[in-house]
């Protein structure tokens, strides 16, 4: 895949087309989140914050973004 090829990933269950190669960190930033404010998983597996910058997204990857909330 060249840097110019668009790919489609699934973000929180919804398809999202990315116009170039993205790392997970890129996607988190694009969604408006500060890296330290969220946790991430790709294809059901936790990806640590420290690894997001080198984790390249592939077509069809399913990404989930988690935030702190209240809880019982």
């Amino acid at each position: 895949m060249t840097g110019a090829e668009a790919i489609t990933v699934i973000v929180d269950g919804r398809p999202r087309t990315l116009d170039r190669a993205h790392t997970l960190a890129d996607l988190v930033s694009q969604l408006g989140h500060a890296q330290a404010d969220v946790a991430t998983s790709v294809n059901g597996s936790f990806v640590a914050r420290a690894s997001r910058g080198t984790h390249s997204l592939a077509p069809g990857d399913s990404v989930l973004i988690f935030k702190p909330i209240v809880g019982g």
């Binding site: 909330i69 809880g71 019982g72």
Partner: protein, 265 residues
């Protein structure tokens, strides 16, 4: 002053664990945390697409935790398999910077009771991964034993289904757990509705109580948090003082020595 509870080497000055969901406002939550004296506060994680805020609740929680010397206990609410719970726990550890986790693996959508098989599997994995695991479980003795064998620091059996406010539906089972697991740290978690329920749990010898809805959904959450604080302290004192045994017959407390108006022969 109540005796301390020690979990994983951490001394907790309160045996009241408080949840943070469902409060009318961040101010109510802040004041309830203060009134409760709780030193262990539960939180969660949620999937989100947008960067939209949480109406200030998380900020309030972090401030309150710092102000009162409390710590956070993230849960794995909503997980339906061991794999999901393990992944979420890892995310919680990173986000909340704690290796403590309230482990929840839902087995039934109606009762929200745990799936015992997935729960034990997740607990074992998380203990291997370095977590201090506090599993939300039912009152089944065998499952509880397996959770302890897996390395759980604490057991948290339900009193009744989450949010139901029914109190201790099966005191026999809870009493059995206490008797058969004398060295385990036991916390009644879920189903508490009134301070009397919390006192009852403590009088059974349980080490702490975790509740959320009973405070958050009270007409006056702050006053209710204070009421629960007092009831948990009272229940703990009663346990330490030794509650008198129940009897099926009357035993007169005033020593009249027979009939009041008839002289003994």
């Amino acid at each position: 002053m109540m005796d301390e509870l020690v979990i994983d080497g951490v001394r907790l000055e309160s045996r009241f664990f408080l949840g943070t969901a469902g409060y009318p406002s961040p101010a109510h939550l802040r004041d309830a945390i203060a009134a409760s004296g709780a030193k262990l506060i539960t939180v969660g994680l949620k999937r989100t697409l947008s960067a939209a805020g949480d109406n200030g609740f998380i900020g309030i929680i972090r401030e309150a935790v710092q102000a009162h010397g409390a710590r956070l206990l993230p849960n794995t609410a909503g997980c339906r398999s061991a794999r999901e719970a393990v992944q979420l726990a890892h995310m919680a550890r990173e986000l909340y910077e704690t290796h403590w986790v309230k482990l929840e693996v839902v087995g039934d959508e109606h009762t929200l009771q745990p799936d015992p098989f997935e729960l034990v599997q997740a607990a074992a994995q998380l203990v291997r991964d370095g977590f201090t695991v506090l599993p939300y479980c039912t009152d089944d003795l065998v499952t509880c034993r397996k959770l302890l064998d897996a390395g759980c620091a604490v057991l948290m059996p339900w009193g009744a289904p989450i949010g139901s406010g029914q109190g201790l539906l099966n005191p026999f089972a809870l009493r059995t757990l206490r008797e058969r697991l004398p060295d385990a740290t036991l916390v009644v978690d879920a189903g508490i509705g009134a301070p009397s329920h919390a006192a009852e749990a403590m009088e059974l010898g349980y080490d702490a109580v975790l509740l959320n809805s009973a405070v958050a959904h009270a007409r006056d959450p702050v006053a209710m948090a204070r009421a629960f604080k007092l009831s948990i302290e009272a229940g703990r004192e009663a346990w330490r003082a030794g509650v008198m045994p129940r009897q099926d017959f009357a035993v007169p407390s005033t020593p009249v020595g027979g009939h009041a108006f008839v002289l003994d022969a």
